[in-house]
Structure formats: structure tokens, C-alpha cells
């Protein structure tokens, strides 16, 4: 019988290929469930989950909440903006207060890298990392790989280029780990200022030219420029960025093959991709969102089955 090798999902770095396979198999079942007339199963009736978001989120938070509700878990959610964190409470205190209300699992997003890991060592609950600073965003990477598997049959042997703001992106790091673990080849592409200095030590090649990167790849994962994390100017202007690293229809059509376009959202239309590309048949952006719910159901279900 199969179960996850971990009690928390803190990052792709901490899990293995078998875990990913198990999550995908379980997600296949949940994808069938969420396409039923009644999209709900009672598995997690006796589990309570707290969603703690210290950073803004729409998609991830809704997706997690929906996944939990589809599994019949009890859910409490809070955003830091309305909480006592503003009054100076520490992270451990906040979470321990929530846990004394008998919560079994915590889904947390935090601006500091390592926050989820820190929490997992200091509180008694199963922790799911929903993004910690520029470190990891494991469920996003899982749903990205799952969408590639769905579209192209397999992740192994595929060529994936991650384009854009790699420096500030937790999606990029988790994706690199996940894709390499499954046997895909990964390149990154973006302005030199937004590529981390030691990225090649992860076994990732840097391709500064967007056209060459797209001609090489099977899948292009387009990242958003994270203006909110930028303390200085990393490129001259948004217009110049869009000209050099934005994908439009003309560019896609001039390639000698059809590639899959992905985007973790939210999209800045006209910057990293144009509307035409985002809404085209080559884009799997909305499939990613649907798969996100199935993947998060699988992760929560598998982690919950390990709670004593």
C-alpha cells in the first residue's frame, strides 16, 4: 500500500518521485470526482484545516478552500491584513492559538522563505506550504507538471523553458525541482537581472534569447514580473520587457512547431503574454486552474491520512 514519505508538504525539495506519482494518481481520481454532478466526497469529515495567508492570494486561496470543502473538511481561513499579526503577535503564537481550537492541518502562505519549514518544526499540525517568499510553491509546481502530463502524456523527456522573473519566483524554483525529478529538461529565460546568479548549479541552463528558448522547448511556462517584490528597477521599462520577453501570436506562429503555453497566474496581459496567446488553443492556463483543485485535494487527502 502506498503513502507519502512526508508528513508535511513544505517543498518539492523534500519529497521524491514516488510521492509525485502517488499525488498524480490520487489527483486523477479527484479530477473525476470534481466533474460529477455532485462534486463532493465525505472523506475528511473529521479534519479541520486552517488557511493562513500572510500574503495576498486569490487563486491559490480559493483553490485550497475549494479542495478542502470538496473533501468535506471544516475550514477556517484568515488573511493577515485583518489579524492580530498586525498587533505584533509572532508566527508561532498565532498558529498555536489557532491550533488550540483543535485544528489538524495548516495551509500557510508567508513572505519569508522557510516560514513553512520553521512552523513544521515548532507546532503540532500537518503543514502545507502555499508559498514562502521566493523559496517554494510546491502545489503550483505539482499542478504544472500534472497539466503537462495531461497535455503531452508524460513529463519525462520533455523540454520546458521557464520565462520571466526567475529571481523572485517560488513557482520557478519548485518547478525546476519537480520537472527535473520527473526527468524533464529545464531552461530559464529572462533579463539577466532577473536570473539568479547561481541558477546553473541546479542543472538549469540559461537562454537569454526568447526565440531560441521557444524553438528549443515543448512547454513554455510564462511567469509574471513580480513588481511588488522589486526594490530597484531590474529592467528599463515594462514596454521594453514586453518587446524582448513577451510572447505574442506572431512569435508563436513563426516557430517551426506548436508549443504548450502555461502561466501560473495572475496574468499581466500584454506584458509576458498577449491576450491572443493567453486565450489560444495552445494555452492550458485554465486547465492548470482546474487541475489545481484536484492536485490540492490529493495532497490534503494524502497528508490527512497520515494524521494520527
Amino acid at each position: 500500500m502506498k503513502e507519502l514519505s512526508v508528513n508535511h508538504l513544505l517543498g518539492i525539495k523534500y519529497i521524491n518521485k514516488n510521492d509525485i506519482d502517488l499525488i498524480f494518481e490520487t489527483a486523477d481520481h479527484f479530477k473525476e470526482v470534481i466533474n460529477r454532478p455532485i462534486k463532493k466526497v465525505p472523506s475528511l469529515r473529521d479534519i479541520t484545516i486552517a488557511n493562513i495567508f500572510f500574503e495576498n492570494s486569490t487563486r491559490t486561496k480559493l483553490s485550497f478552500e475549494l479542495a478542502q470543502k470538496r473533501l468535506s473538511a471544516d475550514v477556517i481561513s484568515f488573511s493577515a491584513a485583518q489579524s492580530s499579526v498586525k498587533k505584533g503577535e509572532t508566527l508561532i503564537d498565532t498558529v498555536n492559538n489557532i491550533l488550540s481550537m483543535k485544528v489538524d492541518m495548516v495551509v500557510m502562505r508567508h513572505a519569508n522563505p522557510g516560514a513553512a519549514h520553521f512552523l513544521s518544526q515548532n507546532v503540532k499540525a500537518s503543514i502545507v506550504n502555499a508559498g514562502d517568499g521566493a523559496h517554494e510553491h510546491p502545489t503550483q509546481a505539482l499542478l504544472d507538471s500534472y497539466s503537462i502530463r495531461e497535455k503531452l502524456g508524460d513529463v519525462a523527456g520533455k523540454k520546458v523553458v521557464i520565462v520571466g522573473d526567475i529571481l523572485h519566483s517560488r513557482v520557478a524554483l519548485s518547478n525546476i525541482y519537480a520537472l527535473q525529478m520527473q526527468g524533464a529538461e529545464v531552461k530559464v529565460c529572462g533579463p539577466k537581472t532577473l536570473i539568479p546568479k547561481y541558477i546553473e548549479s541546479l542543472g538549469v541552463k540559461v537562454e537569454p534569447n526568447l526565440r531560441k528558448a521557444l524553438e528549443w522547448c515543448d512547454v513554455a511556462n510564462m511567469l509574471r514580473v513580480q513588481n511588488e517584490r522589486m526594490d530597484v528597477n531590474y529592467f528599463p521599462s515594462t514596454r521594453e520587457y514586453a518587446q524582448q520577453y513577451g510572447v505574442d501570436k506572431a512569435l508563436l506562429e513563426s516557430l517551426n512547431k506548436e508549443i504548450v503555453i502555461m502561466h501560473p497566474g495572475p496574468i499581466n496581459r500584454g506584458v509576458e503574454i498577449t491576450s491572443e496567446v493567453a486565450d489560444s488553443g495552445q494555452s492550458v492556463i485554465l486547465n492548470q486552474v482546474e487541475n489545481g483543485v484536484a492536485i490540492r485535494m490529493a495532497v490534503i487527502y494524502l497528508l490527512a491520512s497520515k494524521i494520527q
Binding site: 500500500m1 502506498k2 503513502e3 490520487t26 481520481h29 473525476e32 470526482v33 460529477r36 454532478p37 455532485i38 462534486k39 463532493k40 466526497v41 465525505p42 472523506s43 475528511l44 473529521d46 473533501l71 487527502y301 490527512a304 491520512s305 494524521i307
Partner: protein, 179 residues
């Protein structure tokens, strides 16, 4: 471990024919009736019955689905081994249909309890019946009884009833296994 033959291939075959006839007696042309095999082991019996009904008893186009009950079980986090899901395959709505659950062994009744909840995701059937090949009577935890049964078996709790199917295990037979 010792194992005793409860039913051999010939006996299984006779029982399948009898069950098929009992179904026809009640459901005639199966116009509003749907067979649902309970995953994982009820699907073999369901496939067999469908094949028999269609080939030997000229009742064409019987609707058949598979229902997985893993996420509806009441022993999540209570068993030693993690539960493993199987595929649900129901491509129709069961609203106002007569549903027949088909499983190989009826033991505690808890799988059927879960199936009764699970089927609600596909609509509200007008009625639900239960067909089992082996009914382990006296071991029920819940007030659930079959409408069609192949054979009643008295087995104590440390005994296990094992049903083998030609297409999966190489032979049609039912064994009583004692550890």
C-alpha cells in the same frame, strides 16, 4: 494457511445463470435498470452478469457502471494501511433509475453503506437493490441484506472468503481461507 473450496467453476456458472434469471424476472427488459459494480472486486461479477444477460438471455444494451467507494468509507484514518482508490466510471445519471449494486462478498455491510452515499453523487435513484455472490450471514455490522444472493456462507471472523475470477485469477472459484 488452509483453504477449502466453497464453489467450483461449474457451481459458480450455475449460480451466475440463476442470478441472471432472477434479475430478468424482476427487471424484464432492463429499460430503467442500471447495474453498478462496486470497485474493486464487484466489477468482475457485474461484467459477467452483463455478458450473460446480453448473450444468453437476449436483453440488449444493459447499462453498467463502476463505483469506487474509497472516499466514502467510514474507516479513513482508522485502518493500519492507507486506503487505495479505484476508478469510478459512471457515464450516466441515475436519477429515477433502478440501481442494482453488485459485489462479490457481503460481509460487514460497510462497503454497501458507503456505496449508498457515493451513488448520490450521480442523482437520486428510484430504488436500489443489492446482488452478491457470497453472503457471509451472521457477520453484519449494519442492517443491510442482499436482494439477490448466490450462496450463503457461515464463516467466522478470522476466516476469509476469496472469490477468484477466470479473467483475473485464472479460474472461477470461491474459497474459504483460514489463517
Amino acid at each position: 494457511m488452509t483453504q477449502k473450496v466453497l464453489l467450483n467453476s461449474k457451481e459458480v456458472n450455475i449460480i451466475l445463470h440463476r442470478l441472471a434469471c432472477q434479475l430478468i424476472e424482476k427487471h424484464l427488459d432492463f429499460k430503467d435498470t442500471i447495474l453498478i459494480g462496486i470497485q474493486p472486486r464487484g466489477t468482475f461479477l457485474a461484467n459477467r452478469l452483463k455478458e450473460l444477460l446480453e448473450k444468453e438471455y437476449q436483453t440488449p444494451e444493459i447499462k453498467l457502471g463502476y463505483l469506487d467507494i474509497t472516499f466514502f468509507r467510514d474507516d479513513f484514518r482508522r485502518t493500519e494501511k492507507p486506503l487505495e482508490a479505484n476508478k469510478t466510471n459512471i457515464n450516466f445519471i441515475v436519477e429515477n433509475k433502478k440501481v442494482i449494486f453488485i459485489d462479490d462478498v457481503l460481509y460487514t455491510g460497510r462497503s454497501i453503506r458507503a456505496a449508498l452515499t457515493a451513488i448520490q453523487s450521480f442523482g437520486r435513484p428510484s430504488e436500489i437493490e443489492l446482488l452478491v455472490l457470497i453472503d457471509r450471514r451472521f457477520s453484519r455490522n449494519l442492517p443491510i441484506q442482499p436482494d439477490y444472493r448466490g450462496r450463503q456462507v457461515d464463516a467466522i471472523n478470522n476466516e476469509k472468503v476469496k472469490v477468484s475470477w477466470k479473467e483475473n485469477d485464472g479460474e472461477d472459484a470461491v474459497y474459504l481461507v483460514t489463517n
